[in-house]
């Protein structure tokens, strides 16, 4: 057992649901107790999704505990198949079904006999993998399923596209700025003259998965999602994979050069150097920013970085290599991928921390006393407590991290966004600091407003006690209203009863 207040990566089934609900016309059925469908709330709230989240539960209750699910799961699958005609239904195990050890594979086979769509059991073990690993596996599983299906039917295309083309793998629902990143990547590919063959899983149809081998290469922008699928496609079809995250100016250039190399190896004859040069010097503002006086002022300032491996590694490199900021330590909660992370950041920070314990991370921040933090929502709150500004660069995230405005982290526009995020964090910290040195905005004590200051009204002790329970920001107003009420009725002493009578009278 582990005492835990906060977790960075969610349980495995969340990963599976993120993949299933990213695809078009794929429905997930969770084998779970009542209340485990919280995923639907998150998607509906955070993504402000207009459509119903295609996730339902085959409810595990006392009866299921006593007799097993029996027909229930099969019925739920076939019912959903008839109601909504999804292309694929993914039966999703949860922590509960993991310990019940029901033969879910058998349910899937039986349901498949009656269903028009495909039925599949997500192959994830709740106690072995987390959300991110499960998402990676489920995507791989679905891709493999449809490639093999097409192969059996003999409908698997074998030719490559005429022009150079790419599959963008790993864009998913509830991913950090994923939809903006996707737009930016598509734009980058268009600028490079590369056709986008497929984007998976977000918005993709499972029927198109058989076309994946037609691409000249696969682009996997995030370390956490899509690597397994890309490896599978490489092993099956020899499709090369570019797994350099184009985040920051240097890494974006590196990613493009890698693409160039791969395309030329397949006989494309492309040269992207002038494009890189033009973008770096004149389109993206990031290179110019690093020369400007603003950025000079940041030289040697201390920062700490923490997040998923993709974002933490990329931001560490940007801070250190592109802005001259000293990263005291960089860390990730992706423990299972520790080696990769250490390799990525080893030259760009003093220390590396691999931990899932938010307490340890908080302590490490307090100890380092950085000028700015780049982390998740949890680190933002640590920053609040310590009075250190924080830029949020990675999930877990809140609704404000699903902005409506265009805010990619990837590609050349992404580099601009990063500059704003980083610079604003630091200047805010500077402003605060200066204010403190010079004694704040307004050193005079605030004179109380209006009649609330010295009223001649008498308050009984219970009345005062109730008044003090009212949140500070409205207390003054409530006090004034109550006294007005009392005065109008010639009440001499204001008790709790008078307070509530006044509240009713003004209808507030």
């Amino acid at each position: 057992m582990k005492l835990a207040y906060w977790m960075y990566a969610g349980p495995a089934h969340i990963g599976t649901l993120r993949i299933a609900s990213s695809f078009k016309n794929v429905h997930a059925i969770m084998h779970a107790p009542l209340g485990d469908d919280y995923f639907n709330v998150m998607r509906s709230m955070l993504e402000r999704e207009r459509n119903f989240t295609p996730v339902t539960t085959s409810v595990v209750d006392r009866n299921v505990l006593a007799r097993g699910s029996q027909e229930k799961v099969v019925e739920n699958i076939t019912r959903k198949d008839a109601e909504e005609h999804p292309d694929l239904i993914v039966l999703t195990p949860t922590c509960t079904s993991s310990i019940l050890q029901e033969d879910l594979e058998n349910f899937v086979q039986r349901a498949q006999l009656e269903s028009k769509g495909d039925v599949m059991l997500a192959d994830v073990n709740h106690y072995r993998v987390n959300e991110l690993q499960a998402a990676d596996r489920t995507l791989h599983q679905i891709v493999q399923f449809y490639i093999e299906k097409a192969r059996k039917k003999g409908t698997l295309p074998t030719d490559k596209t005429e022009k150079p083309s790419v599959n963008i793998i790993g864009i998913s629902t509830l991913g950090f700025h994923n939809n903006h990143d996707c737009t930016e990547l598509k734009r980058l590919m268009a600028d490079l003259g590369i056709e986008v063959n497929e984007v998976i899983p977000d918005g993709a149809s499972v029927h198109n998965l058989k076309n994946l081998p037609r691409a000249w290469f696969n682009l996997v922008p995030y370390r956490e999602l899509g690597v397994l699928t890309a490896k599978y496609l490489e092993a099956e079809f020899g499709t090369p994979c570019v797994d350099i995250t184009p985040m920051g100016v240097v890494e974006t250039a590196r990613c493009i050069r890698k693409i160039q190399e791969i395309l030329n190896a397949q006989g494309a004859d492309v040269n992207y150097e002038s494009f890189i040069n033009e973008q770096t010097l004149h389109v993206s503002q990031a290179a110019w920013f690093s020369r400007s006086i603003d950025c000079q002022n940041l030289t040697g300032k201390k920062a700490v970085v923490y997040g998923d491996s993709t974002h933490a590694a990329a931001i560490t490199k940007v801070l250190s290599r592109e802005m001259g900021i000293r990263v005291v330590w960089a860390g990730t909660f992706c423990k299972y991928d520790e080696e990769w992370f250490r390799e990525q950041v080893k030259d760009y920070c003093d220390d590396v921390i691999i931990s899932e314990d938010h307490g340890a991370i908080g302590d490490a921040i307090a100890k380092a006393e950085p000028s700015a933090i780049f982390g998740t929502q949890m680190e933002r709150h640590v920053g609040k407590r310590l009075d250190i500004p924080c830029g949020v660069i990675s999930a877990p995230i809140h609704i404000q991290n699903f902005p409506i405005g265009y805010k990619p982290f990837l590609g050349y526009e992404g580099t601009n966004q990063l500059v704003d995020l980083i610079y604003n964090s630091f200047t805010l910290g500077m402003e605060d600091h200066l204010l403190e040195i010079f004694g704040g905005h307004d050193t005079k004590e605030v004179i109380t407003k209006g009649i609330s200051a010295d009223s001649d009204m008498a308050w009984s002790k219970d009345g005062l006690a109730e008044l003090n329970k009212i949140p500070g920001f409205v207390r003054g107003k409530v006090k004034r209203n109550t006294e007005k009420f009392a005065r109008e009725r010639s009440i001499e002493v204001i008790t709790a009863e008078v307070l509530y009578a006044a509240k009713e009278a003004v209808g507030a």
């Binding site: 057992m1 089934h13 949890m378």
Partner: protein, 466 residues
Amino acid sequence: MTLAETQPQALTFECETGNYHTFCPISCVAWLYQKIEDSFFLVIGTKTCGYFLQNAMGVMIFAEPRYAMAELEEGDISAQLNDYEELKRLCLQIKRDRNPSVIVWIGTCTTEIIKMDLEGLAPKLETELGIPIVVARANGLDYAFTQGEDTVLAAMVHRCPDKAPETEKEERNAISKLLNFGRKKEEVVAEEAEYTDHPPLVLFGSLPDPVVTQLTLELKKQGIKVSGWLPSKRYTELPVIEEGYYVAGVNPFLSRTATTFMRRRKCKLIGAPFPIGPDGTRAWIEKICSVFGIEPKGLEEREAQVWANLEDYLTLIRGKSVFFMGDNLLEISLARFLIRCGMTCPEIGIPYMDKRYQAAELALLEKTCQEMGVPLPRIVEKPDNYNQLQRINELGVDLVITGMAHANPLEARGINTKWSVEFTFAQIHGFGNARDILELVTRPLRRNNSLKDLGWDKLVKEDAKV
């Protein structure tokens, strides 16, 4: 057929598949840890439970809450680790870091399935640690959302002292202390005379402190003294419960707590409608008065006054229809209030319907429908959300009270929604808070008034597919 004949004569109860969305009952820790100030809630479950709490509680999680997960690992599931030793280790850590007056263990689906004997382990550990450990099995296998509070309070009933030392008796209870705050002994004695002589009354249900004060004062006006409240502000102030005491519930989801009071502590339950809305509040007070043989004073005028103050909101909702998808068990009381406000209600979805505990509330609902001349709603227990969405489409209702999973998709299809969970956290009890309920209910309608004529009703491309 005349209109009167088309109206059903009695309430109909149906039961669907139970395929509906609600919060897991462990969510009760969110409000209970704040209510019981010296408690610590330990949820013994998996990452799934933790993830739910972390996301459902939003910013509360960052405020160093007095709750935590005892996250079960593979070794716990396969019994390679000793439950007792593991829990002892964690509880010692909690005792050291937080020094609570009680630790509440919340059993989850996982502890049920692996049959972890929490009730058996708790007394042993309690002796060893010197801190009371209360066990509540608030799991998704058996319960929905607010029923979590019911399981915790039912477990707390056993911990209420059965006799307080005579001298302490006056002081024990937080409410009387609050009301008598700072007064001299003689004044308190004088005030005792303001109360009618009646057997002790204890109320149950967790409400924010200001609401506790309001309801207590409301009863005081009738000369009724509230001897205690479960839960109180602190675990160390749990009310004294003796055989023959009267108890009354303030919330409709507390049937286990009510049963425990009656069966285990030999209390008498006052079955009343719940004090939600001015009609409910009046009926609640009247019922308590009638049990104690007190003639209620000034209630009719009081209720009329509240209704008069609500008129601006009532004009917005009169004649409109409301559909409850059902997820928090407040549905019957809220529907009854809204029908009195002049709304119609074709369907009340509800996770679980205790017809005995809610009998008076159901009777008031029936009476309200008859008096307002509207058809009786169908009450659907364990609803099926998919079927409900079909019915919502067919009926074309004006307002759907539903969970967040369905709210945005319905809004995108031009259907007004109110997020049901807000009713659980807002102050909705008593005369003074009726306005708060209508504030919530009318919000989407007021929003519509501001946005009307923009032509932005339906914002999905394809036909509503659910």
